[in-house]
Structure formats: C-alpha cells, structure tokens
C-alpha cells in the first residue's frame, strides 16, 4: 500500500502533532498540579477556566482585533480563577476534603452551564480562514500549531525562571513542599496562593485560546481537557510541576499515535486508559516519588 518512507513520514507527522497538542496539555496540567501542590486538592473547575478563556476571546474578538482581544479575555479569566478561590475554596479550606471536592465539581458545572447560556451549545470558531501550512521536508505544520508551541514554550520558560531564580518562586516551592512549615518560616501564604491561582488561570486561559484556534470552541472543551490534564498530572506525580509538563507531552503523543490504531471516536479514551494503567502499576506517576501520594 505505502512505501516504507511514506509510512515513517505518517508516524513522524503523528508524533509532531502529538508534541504540539501535548505542549498545550502541558500548560493545563502544570496549572492544575501547582494548585494541587500548594492547596492539596484537585480543582475540578480548572477545565472551565480553559473554556472561559477561549469563549471570552471569542466575545472580545467581535469588537477588537484578535490579538487585542486576548488581553481582556485573559484578564477576565484571571479574575474568574481568583474569585473561585476567594469565594468558594478559601472559605472551605478548613473543612473536610469531600466538602471542597463537591463544591469544586458544583462550581465547574455552574460555570459550564453559564457558558452554554451565553453562547449556546453549538460549535463555534474564531472565523479565521485556514492558514497555509509550512512544510519541512515531508512534515506539515500550520502557523497556528507553531504559535501553540511557541506560546507554550514562552509560558513554561517564564515559569521556569520564576520558580528557579526569584524569591517568590522559592516560596512557591517551599509552600508546595510543606505549607505549614513555609508559613512558620514567615512566607506570605496569601501571596503564594494568589500567584498560584494567577499562573494556573493564565495558563488555562491561554491554552484554551490556542485549542480554540487549532480546532473549535464547544462548551464541553473544558471537561475533555480537564480529563487529559488529570492524566498528565497523574503521569508526572501529583504536585510535580515538571512531571506534569512531561505528562502533558506524553498524553499528546499517545493520543495522536493512538489514532493510527483505534477509531478517532476514542481519541479521548486514551487518557482514561492511561489513568487506569497508571493507577494499577505506577500510582506515584512515571517520574514521581512515592512521597507526595494522597
């Protein structure tokens, strides 16, 4: 059917697509795992930050040029993320974990339906014409995909610098390691919390916009991407930022290579299968250490 060269090109293209998608999943997963690292709970409403970021950009792009629409959209997503914490999670912080989790899944459901109320349930796009792809030898990549990788690199590079070289980053890492000890040492936990929510919401919103550019917008995009981010977080070991990054890339590659073997309807099932396999065999994550299990 195919020559040998064509087959390997086919897989190389899938691999490339996987890395591109994975770089965006990494953005989601890093935000999710940072919140987990400091506050020790999984934010089920994280997916809604992704979707709201994308839809708010759609809203603003009707009156502003697209590149200018991104800023107010991300700003509002940020406010949404911080309000989540201030009005729902922070009052529940000292209660039982189940209370927090039920509130978080309630919040995600509330936000998803608010989205449907405003924009309806149909697929939407930003309305760009398909851009001509660039070719490298036999491999194709669209400009949007290039932008996805570039944006992901930019955000994650910024995060690396922040965590590694600034005092704030140091206090973040300390808080993730042991919140109580960090507080005793005089680290301002309010500031740490604020930073974590800011980064988490920004990364989610930006990733949502990129996904919207690459494919389309629909109200369920939050949930779909949330499950993928969960899988990535698990792969990396919960609370492990760089593990989540690698986990995101891994999920992207796995689900794109999976297309070669399964029906595309099951693309989203790849991450679930990974979750089950991991829970069975490597509950601490591929790169994780057993210390942080909860």
């Amino acid at each position: 059917m195919w020559g040998e060269g064509e087959v390997s090109t086919y897989y190389a293209q899938l691999l490339l697509n996987g890395v591109i998608a994975g770089s965006v999943y990494a953005l989601f997963a890093v935000g999710l795992t940072m919140v987990y690292g400091v506050f020790r709970f999984i934010n089920f409403a994280h997916g809604e930050l992704i979707a709201w970021g994308a839809y708010l950009t759609l809203l603003f792009s009707q009156v502003l040029p697209f590149s200018a629409a991104v800023a107010p959209a991300l700003g509002l997503t940020l406010i949404l993320g911080i309000s989540q914490d201030r009005y729902v999670y922070s009052p529940l912080r000292r209660r039982s974990r189940i209370t927090l989790l039920i509130a978080s899944i309630g919040l995600s459901y509330f936000l998803r339906n608010a989205l449907r109320l405003v924009w309806g349930s149909d697929l939407q796009t930003y309305g760009f014409e398909a851009w001509r792809g660039l070719s490298f030898g036999d491999l194709n990549i669209t400009r949007i995909q290039l932008a996805m990788v570039a944006a992901a690199l930019l955000f994650l590079g910024f995060l690396y610098g922040l965590l590694k070289f600034t005092m704030l980053g140091k206090s973040l890492r300390a808080a993730a390691d042991n919140m109580e000890l960090a507080e005793i040492m005089g680290i301002d936990m309010k500031r740490v919390g604020m930073t974590v929510w800011t980064l988490s919401a920004l990364f989610a919103g930006a990733g949502g916009i990129l996904i919207g550019l690459d494919t389309n917008l629909e109200p369920m995009m939050g949930l779909t991407n949330l499950i993928k981010s969960f899988a990535a977080v698990l792969l990396g070991g919960a609370g492990n930022v760089w593990g989540a990054l690698l986990g995101g890339l891994f999920i992207g590659v796995a689900e794109n290579l999976g297309v070669a073997f399964f029906s595309p309807g099951y693309k989203d099932a790849v991450s679930f299968a990974l979750i089950v396999l991991l829970l069975l065999f490597r509950p601490a994550g591929l790169f994780g250490i057993l210390g942080g299990v909860r």
Partner: protein
Amino acid sequence: MDYLLHTLVVAVIYSAFAVSLNLELGFTGLYNFGHVAFFGIGAYTSALLSLAGFPAAASLFLGMGASGAAGALIAVPALRLTGDYFGIATLAFGEMIRLFFLNERWLTKGPMGLPGIPRPFGIHGGVAGLPFYLLLSAVLGAGVFLLAYRLTRSPFGRALKVVREDEYVAQALGKNVLSLKVRIVAMGSLMAGLAGALYGHYITYISPSDFTLNETILVLLCVVLGGRGTQWGPVLGAFLVIFFQEFLRFLPLPVEFGRVVAPLQGMVYGAALILLMLKRPEGLLPEYRV
C-alpha cells in the same frame, strides 16, 4: 394525575439511584463522580437483552448484575489510592462509558439510541401502565432502601464509617480497607444498575445523552441536599430535586425561552451544590453522630 404518577416513578427511581451513591459517598467517603456510568450500564444491558428477546424481568436483574460486576472491576484499580484520585478516575470512567455508548454503533446504535424497550411483567408501555410501573419501582426501590439500611447498620456498615473518618484507624483495627471499599462500590454499582434498568424500561427509549455528567450532578445533588450518610436523606433529596425539575415544565414560559432553560437549570444545580457546601454541608437531614 398521570403526570403526578410519572413524577413519582422518576422520583422513586432516582431515590434508589441516590441511595446507591450515598453508600459510597455518604457512608464510606468515596467521591464517586462517575456514578452515572453504572446507571447507564444497567440501563443498556437490560434494554439490549430485552430487545434481543429475553424476558424483561430477567434482563432487569441481569442489567443489575452487569453493572455490579463493572463496578467491582473498576473499583480495584481506582481504589488503590485514597482521596481525589478516585474522583478523577470515576469522572473519567463516566465519560468513557458515554463514549462507548456513542461509538459502538453495532451494539448500542450510537446516538440514535434504543427505542421500544419493553416493560417487564407485561406492563403496558403507555400511560395505562403507569400505576403498575409505580408499584414495581416502589417495590424494587424499597428493596434497595432496606438492603442499604441493613448494610449500613451492620458491623460492615460501621467499619465503612471508620474508613470514612480515618483509614489508618480502620487498618489498625484489622480491617481490610481495600476489600471493604471494593465491596461497597460493587454494591453501590449493583443498585445503581437496577435503578438504571428500571429507568430504561420505564422511559422505553434510551440514548447516550441520558447518561452524561448532568445525571451524575443531579444524583449528587439529591444525596447532598437530603443529607450525606443518612438513611432517608437521599430519598428526601431525590423527591425534592425531581419534583422541582418536573415542576419547571409547568411554568408558563415563552417558547423562545426554551433554549435557555436547560443551561439555567444546570446553573441552579451547580449553585445549589456550592451553596450547600458553604452554608449547610450536612444537608437537610443531618447525620446523627454518636
């Protein structure tokens, strides 16, 4: 009158569904966010068997068994870890089961759904069968309730509460925590499967869109509103939620308003969950603590 009967049937089915979730969420402290999967497995198994010519009454119980078996299977990996991971795994499992219903057209007819599911014991499929179906669901629902009542009052039930409060204490008391959890998830799934099968045979038409996260949220709200970890809480919650939902249909809303009703309803349920957690996490009927 027929409408009242219809609402009662749905409320009874949801009571059984809520009681089954309460076993896991309320008594054992397991955050199952994909409980609808077991409702769906029960409904589809029973519907497919009865459409293939099996007696509907027998398929009802086979659906229940299939769902219980699925619950036990998924519980073993998912329960390896405590806490949030179980919530994640079940949420994802719920979505995957929905994808399965949607994609395996040879079996489930995909988004077309399965029409014409017969009712068991020769109960008439239309309005005429309503009182009999109410009786059937009430008997089976009472069975589920009594079983849950007996289970949670037994030494087994007390061990579950210890697991909920502190797993290490349960371990120190010589309880096999994993086995306790797997058994209660299997039991919860069994009951959810029965409720799902009852639902399918009642509505006589099921499609993947009947088994989404919305239904999980709905049943979660039933349990949380009534009172987690109580005997009557989930039943009270189910009746309140279902009657509220059916009451909405009677509001004289303009037609163009129809598009926004579903999202608005979803927002109300989501907001109700948040507010309950903030203001009254114990629900309407608080659990009696010794």
